[in-house]
């Protein structure tokens, strides 16, 4: 909460962005405390990692210092005060935290918890709900991410002929950082793969794995010089990869249609239903992972490849 206030008061946008990263990490710890391991994982990877890097590269293209506002803060404060009071009044009726009789724990949740591990056959219920029971939603989310990536491409674009300047990076030639990064990057990539394929047993899955995999490449680009990642993963591939991920997801749905089952009903994929579910979830998570990875990395390319023109 204090960090939030500090983020409002400061005019140095660099500090604001860094504080926001710290805030995200604390939020992740809070989620962990509330038994939401998958969510904490995602928030730590996305909020503290990728968002901070993106906002910083956005800042590089704009200005670091904010000009002092000339308007009086009274009217916004009044609006915020009234809305806040209304919300406070509303939460008086909210179910207490951890109350087993709360509506959340009454409706579909018991079914997911009791039947999920039997029907889908994987211990991590979050993955089961994400990829199997609510596969439609997740398909929609994947397409949203894909579309957002496309829109960023349209707005900024990746320069076709990036000037690869290996060795020239924003932070200069830092031997220690390079050595550490060199040791870390393979581990990051390996860990991402573990998260990807182990998501049905422990915390993890396509969303987290894609982000972590992209983080490895972002780190490489930051440390070893602008544009050196372009040589490893050309931008032209990324567009195709992003589309490929959505295609895998949709393709699984179409295959299950061809077997006379509903769209994204994985029981069609193998002779026994649980095996089919396993295969389907694995493929779908793979599609999600590929799309998230390529969208995050191409967004990073788009921001880092642009130089300040104004």
């Amino acid at each position: 909460m204090l960090i939030a206030i500090a983020a409002i008061r400061l005019t140095d946008l660099f500090a604001v962005v860094m504080l926001f990263g710290v805030y995200s990490l604390l939020t992740a710890a809070l989620f962990m405390n509330l038994d939401a391991v998958d969510v904490a994982f995602t928030e730590a990877a996305v909020g503290a990692g990728v968002t901070t890097v993106l906002l910083l590269s956005g800042l590089r293209l704009t200005k670091r210092w904010e000009s002092r506002p000339q308007r009086s803060p009274i009217l916004p404060l009044l609006v915020v005060g009234i809305t806040g009071a209304a919300l406070l009044y509303a939460i008086m009726d909210a179910p207490l935290m951890g109350d087993p009789s709360a509506p959340v724990h009454q409706h579909v949740s018991p079914r997911y918890i009791e039947q999920g591990p039997i029907e889908v056959g994987m211990p991590n219920m979050v993955t089961a709900v994400l990829a199997s029971y609510r596969g439609y939603d997740t398909f929609g989310e994947t397409v949203v991410i894909f579309t957002a990536g496309l829109a960023v491409m349209l707005l900024l674009g990746i320069p076709n002929n990036p000037r690869p300047r290996p060795g020239v990076s924003a932070i200069g030639d830092q031997i220690v950082v390079k050595a550490v990064a060199r040791a870390l990057i393979p581990l990051i990539l390996l860990y991402a793969l573990y998260v990807q394929f182990h998501g049905d047993f422990g915390a993890g899955g396509g969303f987290q794995a894609g982000v972590i995999f992209a983080t490895g490449f972002v780190l490489y680009d930051l440390v070893f010089g602008d544009g050196s990642t372009h040589a490893v993963v050309p931008p032209a591939w990324l567009h195709r990869l992003a589309a490929l991920g959505v295609l895998i997801y949709g393709g699984v749905g179409v295959v299950s249609l061809l077997f006379d089952k509903a769209f994204l009903d994985y029981t069609a994929l193998a002779s026994d239903p649980v095996g089919g579910q396993h295969l389907g979830v694995l493929l779908v998570e793979l599609g999600v992972g590929i799309t998230v990875f390529s969208v995050v990395l191409s967004i990073f390319y788009a921001f880092s490849g642009r130089s300040r023109e104004s």
Binding site: T42, L88, I91, E141
Partner: protein
Amino acid sequence: MSAVLGLYNYLIVVFLMMAGFYVVISQGNLVKKLVGLGLFQTSVFILYITMGNLSGGQAPIVAEGMTAYSSPLPHVLILTAIVVGVATTALGLALVVRIQEAYGSVEEDDIHAKDLADDEAHNEQAAGTEEAGR
């Protein structure tokens, strides 16, 4: 007393939400507005996760001898929302960068002033051509 403790997380949610809301409507800097939007977004995440929590429950991964688990459904919703959130933040940031290139500023006041000046110049030009036509 237990009511206060049980509602404590909701109080934090309301505070964070209002903090984010305040930033979005009162600050002129577009990058800061995005950060405010992020604050607002995380407050919603905390709200959902708080609701899904169950006292005495476990993280929703099957373990031996465990019967009570937190509800997995809010976790799923928020997990995807976080990743979609970063994608949309990136989109907003891309728009901000384009605005910076077009206007040379990311302050709302400057942008409005420039828009007004452009409109006036345009109107004068239009009036000028009309008179010339007569």
